[in-house]
Amino acid sequence: MPKVTESRQTEDQLTRDMLASTASFVNCVNGFNGDNPTEITKADISDVVQDLLSNNAYTIMDNIEGADKFGTAPIRSAYFALCSTQLTTSLDSVNGFVQKNQYPSPMNALDSEWGAVGNLRFLISSIGSITYGASALSKNVFNIFVTGMQGYACIEQDGYSASFIYRPPMYDGPLALNSTVGFKFAECPRILNDLWVLNLRCTRA
């Protein structure tokens, strides 16, 4: 039986699949795991940030000013990097990675946020994009969608955003034995400017 969260998750999955199909991609090439693409490194992140800056993509999040607190670090204005929860270990190993609990004001972090490196803030999801067996060594390739402001959108038909519909048993039949639940929506995810969304492909460390 579907849950309310599944309807929104389906939207996320469709948007994910659209980005995996059509976004320009860049392989991580500066790691040391001997694969192609390699694991993610600071140099790969710097390259993709430079690409987005050169493409005039606006950052999504403002910087977080430094504060006089132990163990914290200021956070730059940032693009979003959307990726799988399976990359958390790799991200922890990236030079310069700042966990969100090290932000000067952690309340500015999003629930799904894992941390930041340079000008990227990483949002993780269990349904993050993976291309199975697609690396040179036949390992899974993780697609990290790095996006600037208004890089892509979900366009809904008028009056047809996600609806979660529950009908109690009284609508079922003479004996009111079965209730039904389901969801529906009509929308299309679409890249608005292909220069502002890049798929940074990597494998795990």
Binding site: D17, S21, T22, S24, V26, G133, L137, C188, L195
Partner: protein, 330 residues
């Protein structure tokens, strides 16, 4: 009819090939009637058939006509019939590490041990290849019709290797990313007059008038890095693997796929991003051909054949599908 019952029905004329019937999600039973065979039955024709949830893929229950007794018998088969399909469910192919060599022919030919079981047009992904084919690892290629035997297959659109590949693996890729249009890896580019011909490693699916962006960011591509981020218009589609764009690349020299690369790199690729509307109008083609389209489908694949649900060519077949109030397959 109560709410929790979903009934779908329709008909089709068999082409003699397997028939895919798009259905809404959650279908739990399906029936077919071959009314052509029912009117003029031949021995072992499936006059009707059915499937319900719990039966394995490629199975079904068949009502077969037996000419000798001019009667029908019920027959259950797990070799033919109905297969529920969800094309958005993409699974990794099994890597078969049976490659023993990849040739330096213009169209590279792979030699494998055992029986590859491939047919022309299938997509394969190379991995773990050593020798001179390391740069092809992780890239998808289409199997060509020539040199195709149980122990050899050609990579139809692959760049020519300078040094032969040695051992490695391959897997069949049975799916495409579900959204159209899709980015594609470039195998070969060549200036032609004031335009550029592009060969992709697998079918591109693009049409005249669509705009693409060239992504050639890796320094291994030499002068062609100057074409990175160039946006250009498709002016001719030569084949499902090749098209011509308006970009004049004559100043960039020869395009060389970095076949000698042994480390990580980003292969050159195209990204479709829109439509050149004035050009499309001038060419009389669909100005919305670039539209983002979810190509995934849910439905039932019916196997073709006189004793199967999709029948023989020309057979008229009616079908019904639905959902049950309750399923108890303990």
């Amino acid at each position: 009819m109560s709410t929790d019952t979903t009934i779908l029905q329709g008909s089709f004329v068999s082409t003699g090939s397997n028939q895919f019937i798009p259905l809404r999600g959650g279908v739990e039973w399906m029936e077919t009637k071959n009314v052509t065979s029912q009117a003029t039955p031949a021995n072992l024709d499936a006059l009707s058939s059915s499937w319900q949830i719990g039966m394995p893929d490629n199975s079904g229950s068949f009502n077969l006509y037996v000419a000798a007794s001019t009667a029908c018998v019920e027959f259950y088969s797990t070799d033919g019939g109905y297969t529920l399909v969800d094309t958005s469910a993409q699974t990794s192919g099994v890597v078969t590490n049976t490659i023993t060599a990849i040739s330096t022919a213009i169209t590279p030919v792979v030699t494998n041990t055992g029986v590859n079981g491939l047919v022309a047009g299938q997509i394969v992904r190379l991995s773990n290849c050593l020798g001179g084919a390391q740069a092809l690892n992780g890239i998808d290629f289409i199997v060509g019709p020539s040199s195709l035997t149980n122990t050899t297959f050609e990579l139809l659109s692959a760049p020519q290797l300078t040094t032969a590949g040695t051992t490695g693996g391959w897997s069949v890729i049975n799916y495409d990313p579900i959204f159209y249009p899709r980015n594609r890896v470039i195998s070969i580019m060549a200036p032609i007059d004031n335009t550029t011909s592009i060969l992709t490693t697998i079918p591109h699916g693009l049409t005249v008038g669509q705009q693409i962006r060239l992504n050639i960011s890796d320094d291994l591509y030499g002068n062609w890095v100057a074409a990175n981020n160039v946006q250009t218009t498709i002016i001719e589609v030569t084949s499902n693997l090749e098209f011509t764009v308006s970009f004049n690349s004559s100043a960039l020299g020869t395009f060389d796929f970095p076949v000698t690369a042994t480390g990580a790199f980003t292969p050159a690729a195209i990204t479709p991003f829109g439509e050149n509307t004035p050009y499309a109008v001038a060419q009389g083609v669909n100005i919305l051909a670039d539209a983002t389209l979810n190509t995934a489908q849910i439905g039932m694949l019916l196997k073709a054949g006189a004793s199967e649900p999709a029948g023989s060519a020309g057979d008229l077949i009616y079908w019904k599908a639905g959902v049950s109030f309750s399923v108890d397959n303990n």
